[in-house]
């Protein structure tokens, strides 16, 4: 099933960071270190803003990561030059924080650019073993996002299912469609495809966010599963466009399936959108028709449905 994004969790963590900074300011106040109060006291509201931004739209959410990074950088930059050896502890923090908050590309770039600066700021950072140790940490920490990316790309390449619902992805769908056409040809069978479009999907996403979109997709896939056979193939060919491949089915049979799905979907009860609107059309594969011709017809039908 889909990967729920975790904006609330992240916002909570940012807010905790703000609390931590306030605690630091308070500590400086208690020990009478008045010159150092200013920075954490100023950065704490900034982190709180970042927490609120994280809950907003995608663009502002991305900005919030940079805000948090700036806070972390400033705090570490003021701590690093002091107290000799102990301050070294904070040297690795900015690099790891960058990998945690930013995507791999920008994070690597930023870390490589800033590495000399952090080493200069640190006491004795220019000695060879220390810079080597620091670079080891940066490169090794960078491997974690690489590992994630590797796993993700591998799953994308090998998992036939869509990320957001139980339908097939478009590439495996096309492969399976071709193989079903081949099978129909070999066994002298008919084949039909129901093309479906969900006009509400985009609106649901814009108005109610990702959970509404996922609920809609889930309801649709369950409805289709209920009214089709075990070996019928439902695939997501585009954002809101689906193909249901029905092996050994005539056009009239496909029409029946389409009507049943449309009726059942209209009666579904969803929190945000109420009923589920499905626009459908059927395409039958006539014996002897090439797979390319069938695909062209299906593409044209899909476009026609999407345009209304």
């Amino acid at each position: 099933m889909p990967i729920p994004d975790t904006p609330r969790l992240l916002a909570g963590l940012y807010a905790l960071g703000a609390v931590l900074l306030l605690g630091q300011a308070l500590w400086h106040y208690l020990v009478g270190d008045y010159t150092q109060i200013l920075l954490p006291a100023l950065l704490a509201p900034l982190l709180l803003t970042a927490a609120l931004m994280r809950l907003g739209q995608q663009e502002t959410a991305r900005l919030s990561a940079y805000l948090v990074l700036i806070c972390g950088y400033l705090i570490v930059a003021t701590t690093l030059p002091g107290e000799g050896h102990l301050a070294l502890l904070w040297l690795g923090l900015p690099a790891v924080l960058t990998f945690l908050l930013l995507p791999l590309g920008p994070a690597t770039l930023l870390n490589l650019t800033l590495a000399p600066i952090w080493l200069l700021l640190a006491d004795g950072g220019l000695s060879l073993p220390l810079s080597l140790a620091y670079l080891t940490l940066v490169f090794a920490a960078g491997l974690a996002p690489w590992g994630i990316r590797h796993q993700r790309a591998l799953l994308m390449a090998t998992d036939p299912r869509d990320e957001e619902c139980t339908a097939l992805r478009s590439a495996p769908l096309l492969e399976r469609l071709e193989s079903e056409v081949e099978r129909a040809g070999l066994l002298d069978q008919r084949l039909a495809v129901v093309v479906m479009h969900l006009p509400q999907l985009e609106v649901a996403d814009e108005q109610f966010g990702a959970p509404a979109r996922l609920a809609l997709l889930d309801a649709f896939c369950r409805t289709v599963a209920e009214y089709s056979r075990d070996h019928d193939l439902l695939g997501r060919i585009g954002g809101a466009d689906f193909w249901l491949v029905l092996p050994d089915t005539t056009e009239s049979g496909a029409l029946l399936v389409r009507q049943r799905i449309e009726e059942a979907a209209a009666g579904a009860m969803l929190n945000d959108t109420g009923g589920l609107e499905v626009r459908g059309a059927t395409c039958a594969h006539s014996p002897g028709q090439t797979i390319m011709a069938l695909k062209h017809r299906l593409d044209a039908t899909t476009r026609h449905l999407a345009d209304g």
């Binding site: 931590l20 630091q24 070294l88 502890l89 690489w146 591998l154 799953l155 994308m156 081949e182 075990d230």
Partner: protein, 292 residues
Amino acid sequence: MQSKYKVSLLRLNLLLAALLPALMVPTARDFSEGMLLGLAAAWLAISAGLVEFSHRRPPLVPWQLLPSLLLSALLWTSAEHYPFWLWGWAALVMLPQPAWMAALNVLLATLSWAWVARLLPVEQALAAGLVLALLLALGLARARRLIPLHGQARGRVSLEPGLRLWPGASLARDLARERGRGRREGIHSELLLVRTRRRHLWRVARQLCDMTRRFEHCYRLDGRTLAALLVCRDAAQAASRRATLLQRLGEVERVRAVPLTSTHSLTEEFRALEQQATTRSATQGATPDADT
């Protein structure tokens, strides 16, 4: 996505990351530190050699545990010189891993923090602990988004990109589906079990995928056994296809072919294959067919 992603880049990164601790070995302050750095470099370099873009060899748990143990040991021996390695824990918990391993990593991180903290004044130690907790939480939040992908996808992903070879877990479901479909459409479909040697498995798997038609799927049941669902018009056609298939498949020890209408259960067929004579013979159901 598939074409954009390059495994060689990850390999290069692993090698670069391996080079750095290797360079640090001569500057190590004592023998154990040098040893640990060398081990870390070796782990990274070997990982670079092992990494590949397929599910053929899932990483073993002890192998995945090594970086955590190495990081703890490095912090144990050289916390005085390189305390900033402590933050490496946040990167380690980010990796996709089972829940118990994440818990173990958090535990080890806490222990290393306690070890580093004894060098620091109380307020700094506390601050470092709180910041580390926040970073670990951030890392775990990032890893959490991958967990659903892992748990459920494992049973349904193809074992190599582009190959029609599926994990054995999905065979039971496909078997039931194909049996129902065969009955409804009046066609002859059969389950083909192939036993080979461990080292020939992937070659035979590739041959099998090449020789079956595109709508016939192949499965890897274990390190030596493959399965395929064959679809034909009738039993006679199935027999001739099976014969040509077996002729061209190299390095096969045992073969068993059962029509889907008479398969009892996968485990039973599997056991029957085990008990079959070790000659290279095709057995159809209980009655042995002609040797090939």
